[in-house]
C-alpha cells in the first residue's frame, strides 16, 4: 500500500536498526512514519524508469590517493575513549554467532 507502513514493518526495521521500542512507542512511530510515508506518496507513485538516479550531486570520478603510509593514532589515546579495553584491544561481551 503506497505510503502505509504496518506495525510489523516498524517492529522489523527497529530490529534491523538495533533499537528496542515498547508497544506504546510502536503505535506512535507507526502512526508518525505512516504519515511521513503518506506524504512521500507523491514521489513513490511516479513512473521514473527513464530518469537515472543521482547518488553524487557533484560529478567527480576516479579520486584516489597514493599508496603511502601516513601517521597512525596513538593507541592509548584511542583506548582511553573505549568503554572497555584489555591487552591493547577493545573488549566486548560475548558475540553470539559468526559475522554474516
Amino acid at each position: 500500500m503506497p505510503g502505509h507502513i504496518s506495525r510489523d514493518d516498524v517492529a522489523h526495521v527497529a530490529r534491523l536498526a538495533r533499537l528496542q521500542i515498547d508497544d506504546a512507542e510502536l503505535d506512535l512511530f507507526t502512526e508518525q512514519l505512516g504519515s511521513i510515508l503518506d506524504h512521500a506518496a507523491d514521489v513513490e507513485s511516479l513512473e521514473l524508469d527513464d530518469v537515472p538516479p543521482t547518488s553524487h550531486p557533484y560529478p567527480l570520478q576516479n579520486v584516489v590517493r597514493a599508496d603511502e603510509v601516513r601517521p597512525c593514532l596513538d593507541r592509548d589515546e584511542v583506548l582511553a575513549q573505549a568503554p572497555s579495553a584489555e591487552a591493547g584491544m577493545f573488549r566486548v561481551p560475548p558475540v553470539l554467532g559468526e559475522a554474516p
Binding site: 538495533r18 553524487h56 597514493a66 603510509v69 591493547g88 566486548v92 561481551p93 554467532g97 559468526e98
Partner: protein, 486 residues
C-alpha cells in the same frame, strides 16, 4: 569416499553414494599486496601489536571519510585481467550489518557495479572454471574469543583488534563449476600461483591473505542443483578437500533420510573433521546496499587497462602449454606442471631448444634437481648432460648423480663425469661380464630362459656388483635378451 569418473564429454565428476553428484562454488578472499589500507594510510601489515595500525578512518570514528588507494585499484584490475575478466566502471556500495569487528557497522564493498566480471580460470587438467565477479572490499578487524576454549559460542567475552580492518580485499566469486573436490583444490593452487606471479597478493592461507569459503550442494543427475550450504573456516587446501567431501556426504545422508538441506552457513572444524551450524539467525540478513556517498565512481580508461595487460607476466597456464608443446605433448602432464610450478620451465625450454631430449630434461628437473639450486645450472650444461645420457655415454643412474652435483657445485657435466670416473662401459667388456654372471647364476639363467622375466634380476644384480654400479641396466638386459634368443 567416492569415485571420480569421467563423464561423456570428458569432464571429471564425483559419484557420491546413491548416485548423487557434487556441485561446488568457491568464494576466495584475497588480501592485496599494498603498503597501506584500502581507504586510509595505515600500514597494511600482518603481525603488529594490536590496534597500532589504526586511524579515524579504519576505526570508523565519527566524522571520518574513506579515500581509495590507487594501488589497490590497480592490483584489483590486474587480478581481473589475469582471470580474463572484463574490467568495468565501478561504484562502491555500503553493505549494512552490525558486528563488532566492523567499526562502521557497514562494510564498504561493491554491489551491482563491481570492477571485474565474467572471467575464467583453466585448471591444469583443462577444466574451465567460470568467474562471475571479482570485486573490491575492505577487510574487517579480528576478534579473539576469551574463555570457553576460544570458540565463539562458549566465550566469556571477546577482544577486538582493528589492525586488519580496512586492508584491501578482492573477493573472487566462481561459478558453481566444480564437480570434484580435487578440482576445487587445484583451483586454489592455481589461483595462488597466479596471485604470486602477478604480485597481486602473497596469497598465504596460513596468514589469512587467502581465504576460501566453499558453497557445496548435491543433486541427482539431470535435476536442478540442490540447496547449497556455505562452509567457512577452511584454513588449508587439504582442509578444503576434506570439508567438501564431509559436507557432500552429510547432505546425501540428509536427503536419503527424507529431510531437506537447509540453506545455512556452516563452520568447518578441522580437529573433529566435520561441519557444524553456528547459531541460526531468525531472519536472513537484509544488507540494504546503496551507493557509497563518500566515494566517487571509478571509470578506468582503456589505455590504462591496455597497460595492465601488457605488463602481465606469463601466467602458469600459458607456461604449461608452452612447455607441453615444446615437449611434444598435447596436454600438460604431471612433470610439466611440476616444472612450471617450480619456475624451472625457462631452463627446460632453453635446454630443449639446444637439442636436449625433452622427456629426459623434464624427468631430471622434476626428480633430480633441487629447485633452490637452479641458479647453478645453465641451460647449456643441462643440455650437454642430457646429450651425454641419450648418446649412451652416461647411464640413467649416472646422469641422475651428475645432475645433483651440477646443482650443488655449478660444474659442467663432462667435468663431473670425468672426476667421478663415469664412463659408459665398453660394450664388449660388458658382454664378457654378463657372460660371467650367467655362468655364476645357473639356476636364475635357466628360469629366465624358461620365460620367467623376473629371474634376470639376480644376474643383473651380479653385473652391477661386478661393475660397481656403472653398467647401464638397459644395456645389460638387452644383452641377456640377445643371449637368450641366440
Amino acid at each position: 569416499m567416492s569415485t571420480t569418473t569421467l563423464s561423456d564429454h570428458g569432464g571429471a565428476f564425483t559419484e557420491l553414494p546413491h548416485g548423487y553428484r557434487l556441485v561446488v562454488g568457491l568464494e576466495v578472499h584475497v588480501e592485496l599486496h599494498t603498503a597501506t589500507k584500502l581507504f586510509c594510510g595505515c600500514p597494511n601489515q600482518f603481525g603488529d601489536e594490536p590496534n597500532t595500525n589504526v586511524c579515524p578512518v579504519c576505526l570508523g570514528l565519527p566524522g571520518s571519510m574513506p579515500v581509495l588507494n590507487a594501488r589497490a585499484m590497480e592490483l584489483a584490475m590486474r587480478l581481473g585481467r589475469a582471470l580474463q575478466c572484463e574490467v568495468r566502471p565501478s561504484v562502491f556500495a555500503r553493505k549494512n550489518y552490525f558486528y563488532p569487528d566492523m567499526p562502521k557497522d557497514y562494510q564498504i564493498s561493491q554491489y551491482d557495479q563491481p570492477t571485474n566480471v565474467d572471467g575464467h580460470l583453466d585448471l591444469p587438467d583443462g577444466t574451465r572454471i567460470g568467474i562471475e565477479r571479482a570485486h573490491i572490499e575492505e577487510d574487517t578487524g579480528k576478534s579473539t574469543h576469551v574463555g570457553g576454549g576460544g570458540r565463539i559460542h562458549d566465550a566469556a567475552y571477546s577482544l577486538v583488534d582493528y589492525n586488519r580492518c580496512g586492508v584491501p580485499l578482492v573477493e573472487i566469486v566462481s561459478r558453481p563449476d566444480f564437480r570434484t573436490a580435487e578440482q576445487a583444490k587445484a583451483y586454489v593452487n592455481e589461483l595462488r600461483a597466479i596471485l604470486t606471479a602477478t604480485g597481486v597478493s602473497d596469497a598465504k592461507m596460513e596468514e589469512g591473505s587467502l581465504r576460501v569459503d566453499a558453497n557445496v550442494s548435491v543433486h541427482q543427475p539431470d535435476t536442478p542443483f540442490g540447496t547449497r550450504c556455505e562452509i567457512k573456516n577452511i584454513n588449508s587446501v587439504r582442509s578444503l578437500g576434506r570439508a567438501i567431501e564431509y559436507e557432500a556426504l552429510r547432505q546425501v545422508d540428509l536427503l536419503e533420510a527424507g529431510e531437506r538441506v537447509i540453506q545455512q552457513t556452516r563452520h568447518w572444524n578441522e580437529d573433529e573433521g566435520r561441519t557444524h551450524m553456528l547459531r541460526s539467525k531468525e531472519e536472513a540478513e537484509d544488507y540494504r546496499y546503496f551507493p557509497e556517498p563518500d566515494l566517487v565512481p571509478m571509470v578506468p580508461e582503456q589505455a590504462r587497462i591496455d597497460e595492465i595487460d601488457a605488463a602481465l607476466p606469463r601466467l602458469p597456464a600459458e607456461r604449461r602449454s608452452a612447455l607441453a608443446d615444446a615437449a611434444g605433448r598435447t596436454l600438460p602432464d604431471e612433470s610439466v606442471t611440476i616444472v612450471v610450478d617450480r619456475d624451472l620451465d625457462e631452463l627446460a625450454l632453453d635446454a630443449v631448444a639446444s637439442g636436449a631430449d625433452a622427456d629426459r630434461t623434464l624427468t631430471h628437473l622434476q626428480h633430480d634437481l633441487d629447485p633452490a639450486q637452479v641458479g647453478n645450472v645453465s641451460a647449456e650444461n643441462l643440455a650437454q648432460l642430457v646429450q651425454l645420457e641419450t648418446s649412451g655415454k652416461l647411464t640413467a643412474s649416472q646422469a641422475k648423480q651428475v645432475v645433483a652435483e651440477m646443482g650443488e657445485t655449478g660444474k659442467a657435466p663432462d667435468a663431473i663425469a670425468a672426476e667421478r670416473g663415469f664412463e659408459a662401459m665398453d660394450t664388449s667388456e660388458l658382454e664378457s661380464i654378463v657372460d660371467d654372471a650367467i655362468a655364476a647364476n645357473g639356476d636364475a639363467w635357466a628360469k629366465y630362459c624358461a620365460g620367467e622375466q623376473k629371474a634376470q634380476g639376480a644376474i643383473v644384480g651380479h653385473v652391477m656388483k661386478a661393475t660397481r654400479g656403472q653398467a647401464d641396466g638397459k644395456v645389460v638386459t638387452q644383452i641377456l635378451e640377445q643371449r637368450r634368443s641366440a
